[in-house]
């Protein structure tokens, strides 16, 4: 069966990965130290790491949407950017006394 995706054709490796996907991959690796700090450090430090990680993840979603040419996927980034703020505010509020 012939594939409908032209980027996966043999001999078309030059267009297989573009600069947006490379940037998304690099930032994806940058999530690893954020996750390590969030898991291993005290809760206030973990909250700071989670906030940096949420900014990174929103950016990664923008990059993947542009890199994969799936424009509707950028709605995920918009929703995630707003909802990560709500989640961070909730954790900050809980951290005053309960965590």
């Amino acid at each position: 069966m012939r594939s409908t995706c032209s980027a996966s054709e043999p001999g078309d490796l030059g267009a297989a990965v573009n600069e947006w996907e490379i940037a998304a991959a690099v930032l994806g690796f940058a999530l690893i130290p954020c996750g390590a700090v969030a898991l291993l450090a005290d809760p206030p430090h973990g909250l700071a790491a989670m906030q940096v990680g949420s900014v990174l993840l929103a950016t990664i979603l923008v990059l993947l949407s542009e890199g994969l040419h799936r424009q509707p996927f950028i709605d995920l980034a918009v929703v995630f950017a707003l909802m990560s703020l709500v989640g961070s505010l909730l954790f900050a509020r809980l951290m005053e006394r309960d965590l």
């Binding site: 206030p44 940096v52 900014v55 950017a81 703020l85």
Partner: protein, 106 residues
């Protein structure tokens, strides 16, 4: 490569580097109040990448929303940080106005 593509790639690299510096700062700093500085820096990186998408795609569905994500990250990041610091001060001292970290009254 068109000038527009060059500008977009330059903004992409600048934004990515800023976000990597933010992650590096998060890992290097030892105090939580120092670490929280890098949330705002990461937001600026996201904004530059949103502008890069806007330069590449012009004002379209993806360009507008990429810019929106960048603006949200820049504008709401400081709100998030200030709220977090206030909560951490309450956690540490009981009242965010009570004392500074060196123990003197404000």
């Amino acid at each position: 490569m068109s000038p527009t593509a060059v500008v977009a790639v330059a903004l992409l690299i600048a934004g990515g580097l800023i976000e990597l510096i933010a992650v590096l700062g998060l890992c290097v700093m030892r105090d939580v109040y120092d670490r929280l500085h890098y949330v705002g820096l990461a937001g600026f990186g996201g904004f530059l990448i949103g502008v890069a998408v806007l330069v590449r795609e012009s004002f379209s569905l993806i360009g507008d929303k990429a810019l929106l994500v960048g603006v949200v990250l820049i504008l709401l990041g400081p709100v998030m940080v200030q709220t977090t610091v206030r909560s951490l001060l309450i956690r540490e001292f009981g009242d965010w106005r009570a004392k500074t970290r060196d123990g003197s009254d404000q």
